[in-house]
Subunit: 229 residues, 2 copies
DNA sequence: ATTCTTAGTGTTGATTTGACACTAAGTCAA
DNA sequence: TTGACTTAGTGTCAAATCAACACTAAGAAT
């Protein structure tokens, strides 16, 4: 036991709530634990923070290691420090939430990990530790954030239709939105670039594809703009 | 060195940004460091997390020990984990922000601590560690939160005038508000109880005193209400 | 050619917002 | 005791925003 300190120290971990958007549902990625405690239970991907990496770096590393995901949208959520949240010893966990374009990553999640899987947010099994609480908070945060920041694009492919975008908002916010009002508002923000492409292989009129103008968004966000939907 | 671990561990601390409302300014409490590193510098109150206390308990304990403040509004802000934020070793700090009724606590801060003092948020000295960054984030958060949650009452005495409340909003949001519109909106939320008292010892017409209806707020907040100002 | 499905598009009434100025009450000083 | 001073307290209107609402257009499938 080579690392000694004058006072006892909590272990420090990161946990990630990874959201992805299926055609039909908002999903989160879970991994099945291979060791005790909670062996066999599903849990959020995560692990110990190394001394030479920041918290966010730790979260990204664990995400890559355990789920193959990388270059995703990632933001700190909350830090969980209940004394007994881990039965072994004191563990404080900094939780992050991630938004991934499922369309890009579908393959990996399927091949990579026999112990990683996507679950619909309304169909999540019992989770290890206090991960249910973390998940709940992540959902609340995602909903809150979506209302006033154009964060939803992170869940869609680079090019998407307005209907997809609306569908995403409806899934996350759990209420129906009026198509015309939604389009009016979202186009009015002036952050979408109309491409000259339309969706392919659909059995009906094909919708126009749009891109999110991330540069413009960054500029305006820095200037303290508001993007309430 | 009695505490040994298989892998190296970061030290875990809490830091608190304590806001108080002077008649003229929004203030924060700082303490002057007595030891290196940054000896003599001003810093946010804070300290190490003990193993048998939650993060919030640690924050409250440190607050009480270092500044004499207790039973204040306290909420987690963000966790700071840059690798070099402390020159000695890896230290991860969970930051909280607190809102205190300066009117209640003025005495204590004056007597208690020769090394604790209030500074106007626009007149803060150079801070130790990354505390300037923490402060900035706390300010942003306070501003953001004030817009859609009736959190400002935590900075005022139990009974206050509408002008005081407006003044507080103006100080925090850093813009002037229209008196009539402000009163309309704030009374319209229906969270203020008109008392039968008026302010005392003022050299002009005395204003009515109001109380914040915390019970009602809690009920409505739980029901998912919105209190955008 | 007909049917089916989703894309795409404007108007209107209701509500909310923001700008704006005067009277009321009380203290103070001459 | 009166007049001056200071802050409390109050309503209207025009502009902007929001929410409700239904039809035509395009393309695929039969």
């Amino acid at each position: 036991m080579p690392y000694s300190y004058e006072y006892p120290r909590a272990a420090l971990t990161v946990d990630c709530v990874v959201f992805g958007l299926d055609d039909e549902e908002l999903k989160i990625m879970l991994i099945q634990r291979g060791q005790p405690p909670f062996e066999g239970s599903w849990a959020l991907p995560g692990g110990f923070v190394h001394l030479e990496e920041t918290l966010e770096e730790a979260a990204r590393r664990e995400l890559e290691e355990e789920t193959g995901l990388h270059k995703v949208f990632l933001e700190q959520l909350y830090t969980f420090g209940a004394v007994d949240r881990d039965p072994r010893e004191r563990v404080v966990s900094v939780a992050y939430y991630a938004l991934v374009k499922l369309s890009d990553h579908k393959v990996q999640a399927a091949t990579d990990a026999r112990d990683a899987a996507w679950f619909g947010v309304h169909d999540v099994p019992t989770l290890a530790f206090d991960h249910a609480e973390i998940l709940q908070m992540a959902l609340d945060r995602l909903r809150g954030k979506l209302r006033y920041q154009p964060i939803g694009f992170e869940l869609l492919p680079k090019k998407f239709t307005l209907s997809q975008l609306q569908h995403l908002y409806e899934l996350v916010l759990e209420r129906e939105l009026d198509k015309r009002n939604f389009r009016k508002k979202v186009l009015g923000m002036d952050l979408l670039i109309e491409t000259d492409e339309v969706e392919q292989d659909v059995a009906h009129r094909a919708a126009r594809l749009y891109r999110f103008d991330e540069r413009k968004y960054r500029r305006l966000a820095k200037a303290g703009f508001n993007f309430e939907l």
